[in-house]
């Protein structure tokens, strides 16, 4: 908006106040949990005084310092959270690579074809995108039990790739639409086949869109709870179902701090991701909106 008139003081105060409130609402929970994860449970969940979580008198009494890594040690070593971290890493890498490979081919084909079925395929993808994932899981389980593929990482990877496809297709389709068709048409006039045109003309310019889509595939795989908790066996759990399992088992044993430490560990990579890819995430979120 062109600032041709200065905003009145009251409006400016209101806007700044609002920004500060929202900033606190968005950032404070993470800062608080990060700080608290280095305390003992009686400080983080303090009965007599909330300032205990800041100063940590009981942490000092038990561990001799205001901070302790006991929660992290318990989660990572005692409860073997590192296994889940490893599993999440594997799942994310394979899901992103596979869904980008087949999604790029499919999205490119959709954007370069002007037959009627393209519309129907896109609508089908939209409907598939709307269906809650957990409803599909009840369709998978009997088959997975029958074929003895329940519980393994590859199963979860394939399922996540498939669930990811509708979204990936929509995003890459609208991205390829924004690359001028003349580019590969002219390559075809010069004697390239469709595939050669794709490889030599489109692939060099498609990376920004592919990276943005890849980020969202990564987030879907990383954040998934419905599928991974139902499809993976206990020893193959990824981070999110592992944290959910912590709540069941360790809360009763008084080890809530293990879960707090695990939650902080799982949030850290997302922090780094937003820091480096903020621009891509924002452009990805708005890509669909500007198109649609």
């Amino acid at each position: 908006m062109a600032p041709s008139r200065r905003k009145p003081l009251a409006l400016r105060l209101f806007l700044y106040g609002f920004i500060i409130v929202w900033f606190i609402a968005a950032a404070f929970p993470f800062a608080w949990t990060l700080w608290g994860s280095f305390k003992v449970e009686l400080d983080f969940f303090s009965i007599n005084n909330w300032t205990d979580a800041l100063t940590g008198p009981r942490t000092e009494a038990v561990h001799g310092g205001a901070f302790t890594g006991a929660g992290y040690r318990g989660a990572w070593i005692q409860e073997e959270f590192w296994r889940s971290v490893l599993n999440t890493g594997l799942v994310c890498i394979f899901v992103v690579c596979t869904s980008l490979t087949i999604g790029t081919l499919g999205g490119y084909a959709l954007s370069r074809s002007n037959y009627k079925y393209v519309f129907w395929l896109l609508i089908t993808a939209l409907i598939f995108r709307a269906i809650p994932q957990i409803t599909l899981v009840s369709g998978y389980l009997p088959v997975f039990f029958d074929w003895n593929v329940w519980g393994f990482l590859p199963t979860a990877i394939i399922v996540l790739v498939a669930i990811n496809q509708p979204f990936t297709l929509w995003m890459l389709h609208s991205f390829f639409e924004s690359i001028p068709k003349e580019l590969d048409e002219s390559a075809k006039v010069d004697g390239c086949t469709q595939f050669q045109a794709f490889r030599q003309v489109i692939i060099p310019v498609m990376w920004p869109g592919v990276i943005t889509t890849g980020l969202f595939s990564f987030l879907l795989a990383y954040n998934d709870f419905a599928v991974t908790t139902m499809v993976l066996a206990e020893q193959n759990r990824t981070m999110v179902p592992a944290i959910a399992a912590f709540l069941g088992t360790t809360q009763t044993e008084g080890n809530v701090m293990f879960a707090v430490a695990a939650v902080v560990s799982a949030t850290a990579p997302l922090f780094v991701l937003v820091m480096f890819f903020q621009r891509q995430i924002v452009s990805g979120l708005t890509a669909g909106a500007v198109k649609g």
């Binding site: 969940f45 303090s46 598939f128 599909l136 899981v137 369709g139 469709q194 799982a266």
Partner: protein
Amino acid sequence: MKHRTFFWSFLPTALAMLFFIAFPIASVVLQSVFVPHEAVFTESENCGPFGCKKITTVDLEATEDLRAEKPWGRFSGLEIYKDRGHLAFTEVSEAWKSSESFGAFFSELGNLPFYRAMAFTLVYTFTVTPSLIVLGFIIALAVNSLHARLKGLMIFFSLLPMIVTPLIGSLILFWMIDSRGILGSALQWLSGDPDLSLKASTPLMWISLIVYGIWHSAPFAFVVFYAGLQTVPQDTLESAQIDGASRWEQVRYVVIPHLMPLVSFVALIQLMDNFRVFEPIVGFNAEAHATSLSWIIYNDLGGETRQLSAAATTSVLTIIGVAILLSPVLVRTWRDFKGRT
């Protein structure tokens, strides 16, 4: 592009969606009209010196045979749909007959698991979606008026609640609103009631879940609206200023109409996502106060018993719900498509 090339490029993704989305939906529908076979019992008489006893034993072989012969189970039609755990026709009609007012009828319905979940899912979807659109819009307006350097910082922090895993985000908030957590203590202090616990009260739990939902999704609306604000036509805005429009009138008659397509986009995405609300209920440990359709499916599938038919039936009902929710959008897209060709 030739049909042939299209076919081969699209095949992998089509197969993935066919096998892991379309077939499961079909299988869910089938499972919901079949129930597992009961074990086959044989009765035999066991006679000893002290008289005869009738013994029923499970005929393992016959049971296996039956299962192998009809792997889907016993056809039951819409039986599961009508039972107490789902649409509960008998219970609903009884409640209708016996209760004197609508209030009493609805509180009777609240005791049936499916209707209880439906009530929360709908309330959640239709309170969170409009609130997050309004909140996202105000944040976008406010951030847009900031200095350029602060904008980037605000966008970074605003993205966090949305990017973070829903289960983890809800746990972080849940630990804060715990009666021994910082927000829980603050609320106790504000209300002057030292025993106040959000976990113990149904309305407070619903409010917490809704607040979580808004916190989680408002950034999405914010980012989309913020991008839209950058493309507001400056000429229109200036002519409105010259015509003497106040700040509010500029927003009301220039900015909001410009953003309207984005509002419907955000509403569509958020209706779909909020209807599947599930993780916050697990994270908030709220199932005693609030359940959702997705949570019922999760609950039926998990645990030792794995009630596949019950879960499948709820799944079908949920998919029907999504279809009803989406139908206006689909009808409109269809009309647009008809109009173009």
